[in-house]
């Protein structure tokens, strides 16, 4: 993307005013999407975004500038702006020598989506639309979306790091509306992986569409969810966002070091029930949060955050790790070249236990079975978090019974982790997610086995 000699020159300029660390992050991204709605292929969109962000660190201060101009002159202007912003006091020259490293994710992209004719992408949309509508007359509306992106990045910094990566992600989603006497309800299914068009060899699009339609129709008969505390069983693959919110964000070192996490100072302590092991793993093959290197040039890692209930470590980016005199854990990520990196999750999941999922439900006299969770949100300072249930049922006398309307559940991270009293043997990853933090969105994955929390507060409207 950029010549090594140019990068060395630009980093030298960035360091000239007394910088202690400088970095060039360049990105070239192509997006393509196609949307079917209201029975019609509405629109295909193509996008191209290319540019570089340059940061210079002096003491506690980071200066940052970005440019869409990848010429030597454009990069030098950005480097000067970043250096001025960091207000370095010193002077002199800094010679930066880069050592080219390699990034590997251990598998190859089979079919680059850019090589696939647009007509084939469009054909997927109409197929899914037909499959969803075939489920029943109650299906009153269907929208289907396809998306792919190819993101080439380059990281070069004053520590000599020089590495490039090429990432391809492909995504597909079906959303249905069902209409009945009780009003309208929705059902959605999505799949996404860090792979190319071979995504469609992994999934049966017709089945995916029918599942989304079934979910909307099922919910037409849903009763209001309860309001108040009761046991909650979370379905395999459907509920990883629980751990993303309950402890993931609270284990991000930037929040911990600012005193904004309930998990501050708790490394080595029992923070979850025995048997609970939570991992963040950027190396997880083909998953939505997979990265070969993070956006600071560090190789992706598998990081155990909680092991058998004991808090083992936080997640780290370059700046926080440097301050603590340790290595980054490969969690420095950013939305685009226009943003500074910060500590972010990749694929966050809970390891499987040994129980039979059926017996977990059977041993729950009264509660709620949440088959699919929606998004969530956490206040890391208090640990209070919410997450939505997009498909949920009552459990009565150990059996899954009536469907429930949508709503949020609320709990407190440290308390909920201690209340996990059953772990199934049926681990699965869930649908692709986008994690938002300080205005930046990055792709993340999550996964869980079937599990039970002995008490959570359900935000329904029924007494």
């Amino acid at each position: 993307m950029i010549e090594q000699s140019v990068l060395e020159e630009v980093l030298g300029v960035a360091m000239r005013t007394g910088g202690e660390f400088a970095e060039v992050f360049a990105e070239d991204r192509r997006n393509a999407s196609a949307v079917l709605d209201d029975g019609r292929v509405e629109e295909l969109t193509s996008g191209r975004d290319r540019g570089a962000g340059i940061r210079v660190v002096v003491g506690e201060t980071t200066g940052f500038a970005h440019t869409a101009d990848l010429s030597e002159a454009g990069l030098i202007a950005a480097a000067q702006a970043a250096a001025a912003a960091a207000r370095g006091g010193g002077g002199g020259t800094n010679v930066v020598a880069l050592h080219r490293g390699s990034a590997s994710r251990g598998y190859d992209i089979e079919t680059f989506p850019g090589d696939v004719p647009k007509a084939r992408k469009v054909e997927l949309l109409t197929r899914a639309d037909e499959a969803a509508r075939s489920v029943g007359d109650a299906i009153s509306q269907v929208s289907v979306s396809y998306g792919d992106n190819r993101r080439r990045i380059l990281v070069a910094n004053s520590d000599g790091v020089f590495v490039e990566d090429d990432t391809v992600r492909t995504f597909f989603a079906v959303s249905c509306v069902a209409t009945g006497d009780t009003g309208m309800q929705t059902g959605r299914e999505s799949v996404g992986h860090t792979i190319g068009f071979e995504l469609f060899d992994m999934y049966d699009i017709d089945q995916l569409a029918r599942n989304a339609a079934d979910r909307a129709i099922t919910k037409l008969a849903a009763r209001p969810a309860p309001s108040g505390q009761m046991p909650v069983v979370i379905g395999s693959g459907g509920g990883g966002v629980l751990f993303h919110e309950a402890c993931g964000h609270g284990l991000e070192a930037d929040l911990v070091s600012k005193g904004a996490s309930v998990f501050r100072g708790r490394v080595g302590q029992q923070v979850a029930s025995k048997g609970v092991t939570v991992v963040d793993d950027g190396t997880m093959t083909r998953e939505w949060g997979n990265i070969a290197i993070d956006d600071e040039g560090n190789p992706a890692q598998r990081n155990v955050l909680i092991e058998d209930g004991i808090l083992t470590d936080y997640m780290w980016d370059h700046l926080r790790a440097r301050k603590e005199g340790r290595r980054s854990s490969g969690n420095g990520r950013r939305q685009s070249y226009q943003n500074l990196p910060m500590v972010r999750m990749t694929n966050t999941y809970l390891l499987a236990g040994e129980e039979d999922p059926e017996s977990i439900i059977a041993s729950t006299p009264k509660g709620v079975y949440v088959k699919h969770l929606g998004g969530g949100q956490v206040n890391t300072a208090t640990g209070d978090f919410v997450f939505g249930m997009t498909e949920a049922y009552l459990i009565e006398d150990g059996k899954v019974t009536e469907p429930l309307r949508e709503g949020n559940l609320i709990g407190n991270g440290p308390e909920v982790l201690q209340r996990i009293d059953a772990l199934g043997n049926d681990f699965a990853m869930g649908p692709p997610g986008t994690c938002g933090k300080d205005g930046q969105g990055v792709p993340v994955g999550d996964g869980v086995p079937t599990l039970r929390v002995s008490s959570l507060t359900i935000g329904g409207t029924a007494a």
């Binding site: 969109t45 912003a85 005193g259 904004a260 029924a462």
Partner: protein, 455 residues
């Protein structure tokens, strides 16, 4: 209709947009939307500048309509080769869309834009050192606000000066500019083993509009008044929403009233025009020509004049918002409600919602509540709100209201209802309209009979 861009940079962008639109072939409609903005963000932490970002970004979106098929492409640069690529991609994309008799670009409709130009050049020319001083000052003020304030997660100064232009082969030409600065702080307060956060912010069309003391006081108050908060038992409650919270509910309602949702059968109010959907106390307009709104503008995303649109009057639904395509399909004129960025085609959206003020101050409305909850924050709006079914369930923090007074703090509880019920359950609207950073104007709103999920 003649229109003079407000300055040379806007004129240059408009000329660029027109030069792209002029490439339209016979039988083809072509639209170019061009934007350029410069911004600064200063983040202060621990008495130091944590980061200082300054940059210019620009981009173009090209929309092609040919044989009733629409295609779109965009680029994050204004370099000529990228623009040529975007145009070619948009044309190619259009060939894969299925024809729709209603798609098409906006055409001049004779509605004159209401002149508006709040652009203050002092935002763009402000010294970096002053921005840094402001961010550091805000952090200091928050830290000094209360002994229990142990830190500030971040104190931020941001400014943005932006210009856009849109031109089409159908004769549309619009351009505009805007500048804002804003500051915010997230305070951390500790007492015993409890930590709470509280946010405060201030926004203005120019640096002198910023009220640091108000932002700092707000952050401190919100971080320190929740100590001892815990869940309360599940019950039916009345909630009192200060303007910033009430604006969120107004925004949810507004989102269900776009022609796009209605025509595609995704609005719970789609067949309710002329009917009572809310308490007679509620009147809601979307009005970007109201210059008190931070979202005030002359043109919408398709280059049509912004206008005042009445959505709900005395509880009765008046109609919906349209862009040109959804309007054609509905047999209605565009309401000038196309919203967009460079990287997407226009969609129908609210721009500057305003709830008409009622009677009474926040305090007097509070005094009328026997048992209720004052909401300080809501979480899970994206996961617990379904705008098709109308189901609403959110996590909240706040203070209980007992006998007309703010009482003990509460957290880790939910409130739930449906949007349809909440609108009918509005029992009071205050006279304290506040213009919020997002552009919405809203007073205090009191809503009865929600389900609180707690202990």
């Amino acid at each position: 209709m003649t229109f003079d861009p407000p300055d040379q940079e806007s004129a240059d962008l408009l000329a660029l947009a027109q030069s792209v639109a002029n490439n339209a072939r016979s039988g083809e409609q072509l639209e170019a939307f061009v934007a350029r903005s410069s911004y600064t963000t200063v983040r202060a932490h621990g008495g130091e500048v944590e980061s200082f970002t300054s940059a210019v970004s620009a981009g173009i979106g090209v929309r092609v309509v040919s044989d009733h098929r629409q295609g779109f492409a965009w680029a994050g640069t204004l370099e000529s080769d990228a623009i040529a690529d975007a145009l070619a991609d948009a044309r190619d994309n259009a060939t894969f869309a299925e024809p729709d008799e209603w798609v098409g670009l906006a055409e001049p409709d004779g509605v004159a834009p209401v002149p508006f130009d709040a652009f203050d050049p002092s935002v763009a020319t402000m010294e970096a050192s002053r921005k840094i001083d402001l961010a550091l000052e805000l952090e200091r003020m928050v830290r000094a606000g209360d002994l229990r304030i142990t830190g500030v997660r971040v104190a931020t100064f941001s400014d943005s000066s932006s210009r856009f232009a849109v031109a089409t082969s159908t004769g549309i030409a619009g351009a505009g500019r805007g500048a804002w600065c804003s500051m915010s702080a997230l305070a951390l307060a500790e007492d015993g083993d409890e930590t709470y956060t509280g946010g405060g912010s201030t926004v203005g069309f120019r640096p002198d509009d910023l009220d640091l003391a108000e932002a700092a006081d707000d952050a401190v108050l919100r971080a320190t008044r929740l100590f001892g908060a815990k869940p309360v038992p599940s019950q039916r409650v009345t909630i009192i929403l200060e303007p910033r919270m009430a604006a969120t509910i107004a925004g949810l309602l507004g989102s269900t009233l776009t022609g796009e949702r209605v025509l595609k059968g995704r609005s719970p109010f789609g067949d309710r025009v002329g009917e009572t959907i809310a308490s007679p106390k509620l009147t809601l307009v979307d009005d970007p020509t109201d210059h008190r709104s931070y979202a005030a503008d002359m043109f919408d995303g398709e280059g049509l004049a912004c206008r005042r649109n009445q959505l709900v009057v005395d509880g009765v639904l008046q109609g919906f918002l349209y862009d040109s395509a959804s309007g054609r399909r509905a047999g209605q004129p565009s309401t000038g409600s196309a919203v967009r960025g460079v990287s997407s085609t226009p969609s129908v959206g609210c721009q500057a919602l305003a709830v008409a003020p009622g009677a009474g101050s926040f305090e007097s409305l509070l005094a009328d509540i026997d048992t209720g909850v004052y909401l300080q924050s809501m979480t899970g709006l994206h996961s617990g709100v379904n705008l098709v079914s109308g189901d609403i369930s959110v996590g909240i923090e706040g203070l209980m209201v007992r006998n007309g007074q703010l009482a003990e703090p509460v957290r880790e509880v939910t409130i739930a209802s449906t949007l349809q019920r909440m609108l009918l359950d509005i029992v009071a609207i205050g006279d304290d309209i506040e213009w919020l950073p997002g552009g919405t104007g809203c007073p205090t709103i009191v809503i009865a009979d929600l389900s609180l999920g707690g202990s």
